[in-house]
Symmetry: C2
Subunit: 452 residues, 2 copies
Amino acid sequence: MLTHPELKATIEAQLATDDANDWLLIVNNNQDADTVEVLEELDPEQTASLLVRLPSPHFASLFSYLSPAYQDALLKVIDQPEQLRLFKAMARDERVDVYQRLPEQEQKEILPKLAKQEQEDILRMAAYPDGTVGAVATSSYVAVPENMTVIEALRYVRKNAPTMETIYQLYIIDKDQRLIGTLSLRELMMGKDDSLIKDVMRTDLVSVNANEPQQEAPDAIRRYDLLAVPVTNGGDQLIGVVTVDDAMDVDVDESTEDFHKGGGTLALKDVSLRQASTWTMFSKRAPWLLVLVFANMFSGAIIESYEDTIVTYVALVFFLPLLVDSGGNAGAQASTLMVRALATGDLQLRDWFKTLGREFWVALLLGVAMSVAVYGLGLYRGGADIALVVSISMVAVVLAGSMIGMSLPFLLSRLKLDPATASAPLITSIADAVGVLLYFYIAVTVLGVPTT
Amino acid sequence: MLTHPELKATIEAQLATDDANDWLLIVNNNQDADTVEVLEELDPEQTASLLVRLPSPHFASLFSYLSPAYQDALLKVIDQPEQLRLFKAMARDERVDVYQRLPEQEQKEILPKLAKQEQEDILRMAAYPDGTVGAVATSSYVAVPENMTVIEALRYVRKNAPTMETIYQLYIIDKDQRLIGTLSLRELMMGKDDSLIKDVMRTDLVSVNANEPQQEAPDAIRRYDLLAVPVTNGGDQLIGVVTVDDAMDVDVDESTEDFHKGGGTLALKDVSLRQASTWTMFSKRAPWLLVLVFANMFSGAIIESYEDTIVTYVALVFFLPLLVDSGGNAGAQASTLMVRALATGDLQLRDWFKTLGREFWVALLLGVAMSVAVYGLGLYRGGADIALVVSISMVAVVLAGSMIGMSLPFLLSRLKLDPATASAPLITSIADAVGVLLYFYIAVTVLGVPTT
């Protein structure tokens, strides 16, 4: 296999010629994912001139590996006959995605030029909104009748292999298109030649509903070790499948979204961080930062109300960042653990109470350990009284921060909101206000109200 | 398919009998993943009594779905002949994992009782340390000679289907065990009966080295849309494959580890949050919290050196949490975005400089927006001078926090350290110290050094 610079030089040499055979050989001898990495570094016009020279299956396959943004740029410079050739050769799920991103005018132009069946397929699959299982499903799957024999089914699969998204999972449906059985190609191959499909198929069906969130598809595939999960509509009819490669992409996208939310950024849907504009980045980051500015004003207001205490015991201010940060850090730890465990299914809503009990003891231990760590510093910088205030406050803020960080994701989940909203910055800001309040309350209790 | 409570009642009824047929029927009619969820709620003794009644393939399959902790508990109550039966029936990769967790004494007892080939397989695969590709690979794959015909290969696959981890990807190796070609079962089925394998196989090989980090396997599978990726040793010899189901598990585990690190918690290897003890949770969370306590002491020391300024302009303290948190929040956003983009490959080390430039402008815009938001509050609470200090400081701390948060993951990556170490709490603590420094420096510059 060629390295990226070698492949780039080879492909760029092709731009100077219009030889189709050499270029086809290059495409065949390299992985599409690698070839596409080079193509995305070329101008769309250059890439277009290379792609249209290829036979339809190669054209469509390379196109499907391109990023959505580059695909759209490319479609603007490919003429209609070539667009049509591409549309006819693309995998069905890919075709629906590209179709949906076309301007309305172009949608209207291209749709009538496709075969009747292709038109219906696009319109049906395009009906599922982004983020649902239906939107990542493909209607390209192998269905076999229950009265076929194993050897007949094997021949049927072999014949249909070139055009199907996956041939490794077979579906058996009744006359109303309802799923009644599944069979992996491996199970089919293990059957006797003259056995009937209905006698070897599995009836312990796993399926997901097309209207559910897209994460349901990879979850089912991972849980049941499938290569594809069947997708049904409200009436239990089979409308498509989600294959494991698409499911893996959904898994990674959803994790990335949770990561971004965990850092207090709005989800960057389909946007590569490499290509995102300054304005996009600003608009995704500003909302939470501004909300948190106002949240942090509470901390300021609390401090203001203890103005006299601060002026009398100015050493208290030295420990302010240390204490409020420690509460925020413990809270960020707790919320991150909970958000992820709720996302992977390691924890369920019903585990809240049990987890709360353990969190109390963990946080108490953490608070005491950190309290010991700062006691000496308190003694050195502020004397015995300040040291006492700082130690007690440390236990209190770590305990409070942890309980808030642990509970908020559960609470959000209970309210049917996304637990990932309990981001580290949000928890830090809440824990800070609570920490400031606890700190000065403990200070006034131990040191007494100053009498100025 | 039965619901969890229904399945639980059905299985518990089986505990009272020792009928093997009914129980086998239940296992066959339900997904193993669902059955195992019930079994894990029973005592290991109860589960053992159910499992040993089953034929070996069912016994081994259910066992493989159990959590590692429960598997270990189960092995303690299963007698040796049954253990041996289990070992012989388990998938090869699963068997190595279980073997490695056995106490040394038991390893020595069970190994000689296995077939020669099984012994060698275990010892060879057990040599790869946890976290490498080798440790998640299986040596169970279909290899075909290059001079076989398509129809012969199809018969061969069919014959070997029951015992192989995957039959959907075939490997062609030379006499020195070196990989020379691959062929998907789909491509094989699309070939003509009498074509030779060497004429239909693919030679644009993708493989991963057994000693590389385990994340390489799912990355290759996702990038090239594979169902399994071949694993080679240092000498380019094929030693096994990683299948897509195992790769998906690696993907999720690695994401979870990054999440935990991002929240400032050490990785909880193979530990379920549901089952983790108070002590485990404490020991994973305490180290970073304690390190950060000492980091935060810098902030305190900086504040202490500005004692006179604070006493003179006590209103400055009201804005302290607001300003330092804002810098920390912007930094946490930036680091989270970078850590994830570096993990998914969206950004590479070489993108540092370009990203730094964009980050500067994004952070400047964010700082100005937040500065505008706090100017009024500064005016109201502290007058024109304080408002000026607070506004300038806001731009400075957001800019500083963002640049630190953005750069640290790249820097860690450059030093061959894990970028995920740049957690939200770490960035917050660093940004806080820098923020305090900037704030008081700007305050003294604008307001002048107090003359007490």
